[in-house]
Symmetry: C2
Subunit: 352 residues, 2 copies
């Protein structure tokens, strides 16, 4: 039910980040623009069961690059609409609601628009935020989609066992940092790769990985992996693809598992790199499992229970890279693909 | 215990197919030679728990190409020894035994030498043949290693369900023809690819696949697969690798499975082809599972129970390509890699 009286039909300015057109190759800030002339009515339309929200935090995620591609027939990916705002995960506050599960003043996370205010009509996989004793931005990361991705990817897809040897690429990112900490908590040997000294230091000192390396300083990734995993890799949490995957395949142990979460090194290539060492999948009886968070939303409360406790006890930490202001969104998003972010990339639109 | 008296120390001539040296690129008949000057004592050495056998049928299997490669450190594959006979699966008759499980006159199958007679000391995964109302050569195929590979690969690895869409490459081969028939018995829609009109006819008419195509006549494998699987592929039974795998990845359905049994198109390449479409593993949440028969020997009696019954009822048929004489072994083996064989390639060494 719509709250408020009939007089409350205020139309206000609504700044937006507009997606210009489908992208091939490396995305640029100029693939988006700021629209300052948008407006929105802060009321749910009569009869709608949607909600109107004020966006607080927006999430920059690598999968958005795939949404910028021209859709191909048969593709499962949801493409962005040229001329419309970027659509992605975010944290928001409900201003008006036509939906029985949400009311004015609720804090929520789910799929919203890159704009100051949004009218949201698809509330599937939209969550009310119950725990506010952690930073709200966490619901774009450790307590949001990337957190659930890490949780499902590690516990459900990797079939991990204590003492196993775990390798994580893009390990300081929104998902990787959490997977590594889950693996350490289980008693695994954990090594991560990242693209700068700062990130490698984070992995070793902040996230307590057993070791970490800067892939940009390793001309021979196979040799690097053999150095950190002389006995081979049981679990590879795949975030990058391409030549890293090729090197990992040479170093998998018998019955190893590769959870394929992302392949960020490939998203900007018109033709992805070839992977040559797939025969090792037979030699070592390896399982490669692609997955997305969409199949695991039913586990969200389990993630919350586990992670809120670990955060409270100081057993899990989370690093965010927060860009201030909606206008900083395009640069923050593009920065993901050159690794400018350190930790989970968030855009702060407005304080509550 | 060794049977027979102490006088029975007969040394006889033992023709052998000798592996010359490690192979790179396409293997040739001249990578092997016939040794007519070998001899063997038809008695188990004092104190040994091995057996001496007369070899009847030898099995030509694609995996032997990998055994011809120079071993690399960390490789799980067993390499052949230059200067020694080829080692592979075969059917044989026990002439003398020092092992409690085998006695003179037993028919057996397992890993033996490419020679008239062999002393076998590693009897792990060696089986006594109990059912002789089928051709003995079947124990190199449908009732041997390829049969168990098809059984485990389909029922255990593919997680098949009635009505699913199944694609099999190298579908008329030792394993593929059986996987397709298992899938049909379960009520799947089954299409196979092969490399000649004769094989395609076999698939459609003898093995009763729903459809089949000659990959050599398809310049665009993606288009071919879209023709046969307009709604996509649930299960791909992978025997070839390379560009076929790349095309299949474009056509997998959500939650599809790829059982990787072999990649025969890649075995003779110094650098395997690159596979470019692995990102579809994420988009469609595909599972790729490499496997080998070694993990599934415990299922052998289940294979026997199922397949002997189906053979008796005429519900499963099996096509073999039998080369006569040990000397025909090298040509028969090399022929696998250009697809000369029609059905399971066997070498008849001697009638019982």
């Amino acid at each position: 039910m719509s709250s408020g009286g009939d007089h409350d039909e205020q139309v206000i300015s609504n700044k937006q980040i507009i997606f210009n057109d489908y992208v091939s190759g490396f995305p640029k800030e100029s693939d988006m623009h700021v629209n300052v002339s948008g407006t929105i009515k802060l009321k749910v339309p009569e009869g709608s069961n949607g909600i109107v929200v004020k966006n607080l935090y927006l999430s920059c995620d690598p999968y958005l690059r795939n949404s910028m591609k021209k859709p191909v027939s048969g593709s499962v990916a949801n493409s962005l609409k040229p001329g419309s705002p970027i659509v992605g995960y975010g944290v928001a506050k409900v201003l008006d609601s036509g939906h029985p599960n949400f009311k004015k003043g609720d804090l929520v996370w789910g799929t919203t628009g890159w704009e100051e205010y949004s009218l949201i009509t698809d509330l599937q996989n939209f969550f009310k935020i119950q725990h506010t004793d952690v930073p709200l931005s966490y619901y774009t990361g450790i307590l949001g989609m990337p957190g659930l991705t890490a949780y499902a990817g590690f516990y459900e897809v990797c079939s991990p066992k204590k003492g196993e040897h775990v390798f994580i690429s893009a390990a300081s990112g929104a998902v990787g940092q959490l997977v590594g900490q889950f693996a350490k908590l289980l008693g695994c040997y954990v090594v991560g790769s990242a693209g700068s000294k700062e990130k490698v230091d984070l992995l070793k000192n902040k996230f307590k990985f057993d070791d970490a390396f800067n892939y940009k300083e390793e001309p021979d990734l196979d040799a690097a992996l053999k150095r950190y995993f002389p006995e081979g890799i049981d679990i590879y949490f795949e975030n990058v693809g391409g030549r890293m995957l090729d090197a990992v395949l040479l170093n998998m142990r018998v019955h190893g598992r590769i959870a394929v979460c992302g392949m960020i090194s490939q998203y900007n290539l018109d033709k992805p790199e070839g992977v040559h060492n797939l025969m090792h999948v037979i030699y070592k009886r390896v399982r490669i499992q692609g997955f997305t968070v969409f199949d695991y939303y039913h586990l969200y409360t389990k993630l919350l229970d586990l992670v809120l406790l670990h955060i409270a006890e100081g057993k899990i930490v989370y690093v965010e890279d927060i860009a201030e202001g909606l206008e900083s969104g395009p640069a923050a998003l593009i920065g993901l693909f050159s690794g400018l972010n350190v930790g989970k990339q968030v855009v702060l639109v407005s304080h509550e």
